[in-house]
Symmetry: C2
Subunit: 203 residues, 2 copies
């Protein structure tokens, strides 16, 4: 079914291109990102990419900017306050909702080594994520020096990466819950006398 049915509304080309990048990367990887492939997916002429973004690099940077903004606004880690099973499910649900978007961000993480603009955006994104974890740990009265937040976030990040690629959801879910237990363990070891395994009800 060739669906060149209706043209996009005037002014929607730019956004359509950004969305198309996510899809093309998910389907064919960065190797598949060409002016024509992206434009075809977006339903516009391939020269429109140059008009809006100047180059493929510019297109990728703009797409990442867009993706980062969305991720930060949605703060997928919002429900992180409690590290219980509900948290695990909500985290996985967030990633499952838009796997292509997450995949794209991982691609850009690797790309950041070769592109300063991308690097800056990835740094911003990751600092936001780690900051969110840090906040959650602090609320539980945990010592957040020594990069505990970074360690916890890296565990979740690594698990989501595997979730999106090679490891089945059930195992990932268990492992995410384990991360929650590790946090509890951190609480115990820093507060040696604590008997209260149950976190105090929301204050």
């Amino acid at each position: 079914m060739s669906q060149h049915s209706r043209r996009l509304p005037y002014g929607d080309g730019r956004d359509a291109l950004l969305a198309a990048v996510i899809d093309v990367v998910a389907e064919k990887g960065l190797r598949g990102v060409t002016y024509r492939a992206v434009a075809a997916r977006a339903g516009v002429n391939h020269t429109l990419v140059t008009h809006h973004f100047g180059s493929i690099e510019g297109l990728l940077a703009a797409t990442m900017e867009w993706a980062v903004q969305r991720s930060i606004e949605e703060t997928g880690l919002a429900g992180i306050a409690d590290f219980d099973e509900g948290f695990a499910d909500s985290l996985m649900a967030t990633v499952s909702a838009e796997p292509e978007l997450q995949l794209f961000q991982f691609e850009m993480l690797l790309e950041s080594r070769r592109n300063p603009k991308i690097l800056a955006m990835v740094e911003r994104l990751y600092k936001t994520y780690v900051g969110t974890v840090e906040e959650a740990l602090s609320q539980r009265g945990l010592d957040t020096t020594g990069e505990a937040s970074l360690a916890i976030f890296a565990a979740l990040d690594g698990l989501m990466l595997q979730f999106l690629t090679i490891t089945d959801p059930a195992k990932i879910r268990s492992a995410v819950i384990q991360v929650g237990k590790l946090v509890s363990g951190l609480l115990n070891s820093s507060d040696a006398s604590g008997e209260s395994r149950r976190p105090a009800t929301t204050s």
Copy 2:
């Protein structure tokens, strides 16, 4: 200065191509992997790629096969038995020794979504890694049900990914050490809670 100085010894072309792939991916990403780019780096004619590997996909698969074998043999996580500071330094040293190789494996992890052959190899690699962690945890008498090994490995994996891209070594080092402390915490909490304590046979 054209430096077509010395040709490769006869029979070395294949290996030279594999090594070249790692370099090209590190420098230009998967987008930069073309017959000519890889062949030029290896110092051979670009048609040699087809002769040995059939296609770019075949070339990437063969390179991954080679990379996985090396990683498994070296077992970069060998010194994982103790989760102390020495372990952190040795882990980072291993990754630092050949960052391009690690980067390539992360690229292939993402690629595994679109390539069954790559998927099989990445699965093998990750199972080996998780298995190594599991062994280390068992030796400490820890309960390894519930995917604790997967969680711990994911933390280290996620940290190495950041180490290779956006986060400075000092922070990574601290975080890796934190992972070690989390393992200790796991030990405490499994004793303290007595929830699902299955004694591991330390035979």
